[in-house]
């Protein structure tokens, strides 16, 4: 883990869905090239944290700074253009668009993104089905597509929400290999994942979230020592 200043810094992040107060002052930091995982039970605010960082929840207070830029007061599309790619929990594959169109949809925001050939080398299934409607793909293929379309944009930081949810073990393994490859390439990843065994293969650090705030933070090396706590908190 590097000791440089955080690339993404979140301080006192509060967020609301209507009148419902969902986040109660989340604090977290991610340094460039790190993979950080948010752990927690369903409904504790992991997804909301990602959505609030992106700006998908407009009713929010606190500080979100990315590469020195304040993300709280800028329009949603400027957050992506600052260099953050977002892969939502529900994958967000557009039914009226083909695989190719889904892949080409997000604008390129920086140089260094993967070319279409490189993406198809990494995801050969997508190449075979490039003219199919996006929603005709299997769950695993949709997840691959959701990640692939962000890799094309040149974003070096990815917010990834529950990428293994509902997928077969063999696909989960494939996604694990993919994320490990992205980590090797120096990408910064903020991952929401309930499967901490899966996350431990790629994460540098964990934040444990309960009741809309960070309860503890620990490096991957401490995972084994915290097993009892995790089993209790996560209910696994």
């Amino acid at each position: 883990m590097s000791s440089t200043a955080p690339l993404l810094s979140v301080r006192g992040l509060n967020a609301w869905y209507g009148e419902s107060h969902a986040l109660h002052g989340v604090d977290l930091d991610i340094r460039e090239g790190e993979t950080v995982t948010l752990l927690g039970r369903n409904g504790v605010g992991k997804t909301t944290t990602l959505r609030a960082i992106m700006g998908l929840i407009r009713k929010r207070t606190g500080q979100v700074t990315f590469a020195g830029k304040d993300l709280i007061r800028i329009p949603l599309h400027h957050t992506a253009r600052a260099g953050i790619g977002y892969v939502p929990e529900e994958r967000g594959i557009f039914a009226t668009l083909t695989v190719d169109e889904n892949l080409m949809l997000p604008p390129v925001i920086a140089g260094g993104g993967m070319g279409i050939d490189e993406i198809f080398d990494l995801f050969p299934n997508l190449k075979e089905r490039r003219n199919s409607q996006g929603t005709k793909l299997s769950g695993g293929e949709q997840q691959m597509l959701a990640i692939a379309r962000i890799l094309r944009t040149g974003a070096r930081t990815i917010l990834l929400d529950e990428p293994t949810e509902g997928l077969a073990p063999v696909i989960v393994q494939r996604i694990g290999e993919l994320l490990a490859e992205l980590k090797r390439r120096g990408m910064t990843i903020l991952l929401v994942e309930q499967n901490f065994r899966f996350a431990s293969r790629i994460a540098d650090r964990f934040y444990l979230i309960e009741h809309g705030k960070v309860m503890s933070e620990f490096p991957v090396g401490e995972l084994e020592n915290r097993m009892d706590e995790l089993h209790e908190v996560l209910g696994v």
């Binding site: 992106m54 998908l56 992506a80 977002y86 939502p88 009226t96 080409m104 949809l105 944009t153």
Partner: protein, 293 residues
């Protein structure tokens, strides 16, 4: 004779139906694009169609600018008007109940119609057929006025162009994706507020184009929009709200159905579209081409 009807009368009414269908298709296309992305039921669409006809009429009367330049200038002017309306008013209503958008555009339609009624009265103003499209062609079984043939061809080109824009271009893929999930599209870095503005401008511009094309066929009158808008809403409902291809095909189909009804049972011609709408709503509430049946 076809079914006991002289072929000239039959073909003549089919042509009238096809011309009406051309305007229904162009107008319902704009309505469907706007509803699909903005979720706004644009009651001002008829007024924007009327505005197009009046701008064409006024630039001819005051500035001597004829039909052909007007085909470019009028859609741009009405599109810009739409952009201003969207930026100043509609964009503030997206977060509230869609009923507010409907009420606002309904009010806007009443204001526009009222202003033109106040200045020009309700009687129509003539707009000449451009000399290049004057006269007609004898097809043997019927006499085809060239301008009316032009309307059918031009509206097919406009509808095909709009369909290609939506289905085959990057702008179209943004538009289709934003119709499904605008927040996610914006989270990818696409300026969705600008997309919404341009889409409303495009829809209004299409209405303006239909207006200037209609000017030589119908009288340029403040009431021409309100006469048309109810039928066009029925077309969009039959086609399926938000379905662009549905709006185009249904526009032509209902125009022809109206024309055929004039041949066989003229008394029902003014209500046939609404009867079809009622039947479609009973059998397939999402419309013939809608996805959420």
């Amino acid at each position: 004779m076809i079914f006991g009807i002289p072929i000239q009368a039959f073909a003549g009414q089919l042509l009238v139906g096809l011309i009406n269908g051309s305007f229904y298709a162009m107008l319902s296309l704009g309505l469907a694009i706007i509803f699909g992305l903005l979720r706004v039921i644009n009651f001002a669409h008829g007024a924007q169609y009327m505005l197009g006809a009046f701008i064409g009429y006024l630039i001819l009367a005051k500035l001597g600018i004829g039909y052909w330049p007007a085909l470019i200038l009028v859609p741009i002017a009405v599109g810009l008007f739409g952009i201003i309306v969207e930026r100043l008013a509609l964009s503030r209503l997206y977060e509230v109940d869609p009923l507010y958008g409907l009420l606002f555009t309904f009010g806007l339609a009443l204001v526009l119609e009222g202003v033109f009624r106040y200045i020009y009265g309700v009687s129509g103003n003539p707009y000449p057929v451009p000399p290049a499209l004057a006269g007609g062609v004898n097809l043997g079984f019927m006499f085809l006025p060239i301008y009316r043939g032009w309307i059918v061809v031009a509206s097919l080109i406009v509808c095909l162009g709009a369909w290609l824009l939506v289905e085959k271009t990057k702008f179209g893929s943004y538009l289709r994706a934003a119709t499904e999930n605008p927040k996610l599209v914006q989270a990818f870095g696409v300026n969705v507020p600008m997309l919404l503005t341009l889409t409303y401008g495009l829809g209004a511009g299409l209405a303006g184009l239909a207006g200037i094309m209609a000017a030589p066929v119908y009288q340029v009158s403040p009431l021409m929009g309100s006469n048309m808008i109810i039928i066009v809403f029925a077309v969009v409902v039959v086609g399926g709200m938000g379905s662009i291809l549905g709006a185009i095909l249904t526009g032509y189909m209902l125009g022809l159905a109206e024309g055929l009804t004039k041949v066989f049972y003229p008394e029902a011609s003014s209500i046939v579209i609404f009867v079809i709408m009622a039947i479609v709503l009973l059998i397939r509430p999402a419309g013939l081409f809608g996805k959420d049946a």
